[in-house]
């Protein structure tokens, strides 16, 4: 039963090959927990051009991973619920698709790699099985063909001795190799969009460099769009085209990469940049952001950042900076005082 899924995909009504591969509009996600409702994502919007790398930057708990899971449709429900917004793949709202069709989008069109490859790979199946499964279930290949393709894929991500290693289990691989397997798995069906959720956080710097180089190379070859989710400002500076900075479930600043590093327009972005020690500079005292990120069940009124903000005034405590301020043609920021922040530079 050799089903070509691509044929079925074209059957999705409203699919526009010229539309953007991914567009997220005003996404809302909440978690209904014992301690109340946690507003994990509160109106996130961004889009992605073909071949573009979009970085989503933020600290833990800011909602960046939840956004990624919502796009993939793999949120744990309950307790997580998408309560609003649209996720458009080539103009089709994935949230409105029936599950069976949506499933075909996953891995085929939009694939994801996870932070901790050790736990993201099933420990009880061989790497070959987990890779081959994609070909067998989505492409209807035989076990043998699927295995051959798996070996090719492992070669592609530069795993030495792929023919032997395809029969090994995840725990037999080193951290870097495991992440390569994850990448191979994500690329198996030639997706148009790859979402990488903290792909290198758990890795050593030298390995991180290898993986980022590999990702960049593969992206270039396939003209794939990449959503890179990370907290590492260094990695972002190296690879991203455009950046969305998230704080407390919102995008608080969005800009091309150079602009943000040169002149951040939101005090949070600015604080982050000032608080990280830099390899290339002998540091003076770091200027830390005071206070703590908000609790998602209890996000401050007004601008969520106001309790930690040195620019905060009364207006920040009452009115959230919505809609975003247009800083320049390609740039927005969610700060009433973006001009001051930017001008401070």
């Amino acid at each position: 039963m050799s089903t070509d899924v691509n044929v079925k995909m074209d059957a999705i009504p409203g699919l526009d090959p010229n539309a953007m591969p991914l567009q997220v509009k005003d996404l809302h996600v909440e978690f209904r927990t014992r301690n109340g409702i946690a507003h994990a994502v509160n109106g996130v919007s961004f889009d992605l051009q073909p071949g573009e790398t979009r970085a989503i930057l933020g600290e833990s708990g800011c909602g960046k991973s939840v956004t990624a899971q919502a796009i993939m449709g793999i949120l744990d429900t309950p307790p997580g619920f998408v309560t609003g917004g649209e996720i458009l793949y080539r103009g089709v709202d994935l949230l409105k698709l029936p599950e069976a069709q949506r499933r075909k989008v996953r891995a085929n069109k939009i694939a994801m790699i996870f932070q901790d490859a050790l736990s993201a790979l099933n420990p009880v199946f061989t790497v070959g099985f987990q890779l081959g499964e994609l070909f067998r279930k989505h492409r209807g290949m035989s076990r043998k063909d699927a295995k051959a393709r798996s070996i090719e894929l492992l070669d592609l991500v530069k795993i030495p001795a792929a023919r032997q290693r395809v029969n090994e289990y995840p725990h037999q691989f080193s951290g870097g190799m495991r992440q390569r397997v994850m990448i191979a798995m994500a690329l198996a069906l030639d997706p148009e969009v790859l979402i990488a959720d903290e792909p290198t956080t758990a890795l050593d710097v030298t390995v991180q460099a290898q993986i980022m180089a590999l990702l960049a190379e593969l992206q270039r070859e396939r003209n794939m769009s990449l959503v890179l989710i990370t907290h590492d400002m260094g990695v972002v500076a190296d690879v991203a085209d455009r950046i969305s900075v998230m704080y407390a479930g919102r995008v608080i600043e969005e800009a091309p990469v150079n602009d943000i590093y040169a002149s951040p327009a939101h005090p949070y972005t600015k604080g982050l940049l000032e608080s990280i020690p830099r390899l290339d500079l002998k540091g003076q005292e770091l200027s830390a952001i005071k206070g703590l990120p908000p609790v998602l069940t209890n996000i401050p009124r007004g601008c969520a950042f106001n309790p930690r903000c040195r620019y905060a005034q009364d207006v920040c405590r009452h009115d959230p900076p919505v809609p975003l301020y247009q800083v320049s043609s390609a740039r927005t920021a969610a700060c009433h005082f973006w001009k001051e922040v930017k001008g401070d530079e």
């Binding site: 991180q208 260094g234 990695v235 150079n258 830099r278 390899l279 290339d280 002998k282 830390a288 990120p293």
Partner: protein, 336 residues
């Protein structure tokens, strides 16, 4: 010698590997730490960097007495801890205290903050009379920037950064000379990380502490350390001042390591001389002969397999570097 508050000589830690059905016999050893010579001066911060598996954590555990060295000497203020008996060693240990990596697991969840910070006084009862301990604990909490009234709270009621401050307060309780920070900020969010680093620096200034600062984040180490030692597979491969290591690295491994660190400046994209290493770190149970880095080194030649390079200043390296072909290479371009 005694101008060093801490000194190690050929410190070695091997973990035996055993095999056998009924009677275990030792078939080899994991050479986690394999001959380390370090010196720490009063008031100085010595950074130790390296990737996972390089032995830096084992070294840390030996320094604070959690692990007994297989061989070698460890001098704390001129006294050889490795040769001391129980009670004396316990007293000696007061001088070197530990701040651990994970603030979530390093505090006993069943104890109050007061109990945690005050535990050193319970163990070393001669330090402070019982009635003064509570006041001292509150003092310590204030010192690390926590509310002294929170003495009866439990760790889970604090955030990660605050917990790390509790860990620091505990380390300070016995007025140690040396604090060993084992990845103290790697588990923290970026915006919190800076607060803790600043605190550590402040405390060093105020109390005249000496730090051994172990981290895999080279940027953080550059920020805080006066001198830096780079470890690879249980050995120090290069050691020098912060400037020497970061501006003029001479060991290929150091160079690769530094070049791999992404710099938060998009303008440098493509300008950096990035060295991408191939392959994985070899197993410490069976390290390569000669130079341990040679299997991944682009400079490797026959001699590297035969002769183990010594950690000392080389022809083209003014500071000690364990490479036969040590040579300065500028890999970190400062932004203009």
């Amino acid at each position: 010698m005694s101008d060093y508050v801490l000194e190690t000589r050929d410190l070695v830690k091997h973990f035996p590997l055993s095999q056998g059905i009924v009677f275990k016999k030792q078939v080899g050893a994991v050479r986690a730490v394999d001959g380390i010579n370090l010196q720490l001066r009063r008031g100085e911060t010595l950074g130790i960097v390296g990737e996972s598996g390089c032995g830096k954590s084992t070294l840390a555990r030996m320094l604070v007495g959690l692990e007994t060295p297989t061989s070698g000497d460890l001098f704390v203020q001129g006294k050889n801890m490795a040769k001391m008996g129980g009670a004396e060693r316990r007293r000696g240990r007061r001088n070197i205290q530990l701040v651990m990596q994970d603030p979530y697991t390093s505090l006993n969840p069943r104890m109050t903050v007061g109990d945690i910070v005050g535990e050193p006084f319970e163990v070393h009862t001669d330090v402070l009379p019982r009635d003064k301990r509570r006041a001292r604990v509150q003092e310590l909490l204030a010192l690390v920037g926590l509310n002294p009234d929170h003495i009866n709270r439990y760790p889970h009621q604090f955030s990660g950064g605050q917990r790390q401050r509790i860990g620091i307060a505990r380390a300070l309780a016995l007025n140690p000379e040396i604090i060993l920070c084992d990845e103290p900020v790697s588990a923290l969010d970026v915006s919190i990380q800076a607060q803790v680093i600043n605190l550590l620096e402040k405390l060093q200034d105020e109390l005249g502490l000496s730090y051994i600062f172990i981290a895999h984040d080279l940027s953080v180490v550059r920020h805080i350390a006066d001198r830096v030692a780079v470890m690879y597979l249980g050995k120090v491969v290069e050691i020098g001042t912060e400037d020497e290591i970061y501006e003029n690295p001479t060991h290929p491994y150091t160079q690769a390591l530094l070049s791999a660190v992404p710099v938060p400046d998009p303008r440098l994209r493509g300008l950096r001389d990035q060295i991408v290493l191939t392959g994985d770190v070899p197993s410490p149970a069976n390290p390569p002969s000669g130079c341990r880095f040679r299997t991944r080194c682009w400079k490797a030649q026959d001699i590297c397999a035969e002769k183990e390079p010594v950690l000392e200043p080389q022809a083209k390296s003014p500071h000690p570097s364990a490479c036969h072909f040590a040579e300065v290479r500028d890999v970190v371009h400062a932004a203009e």
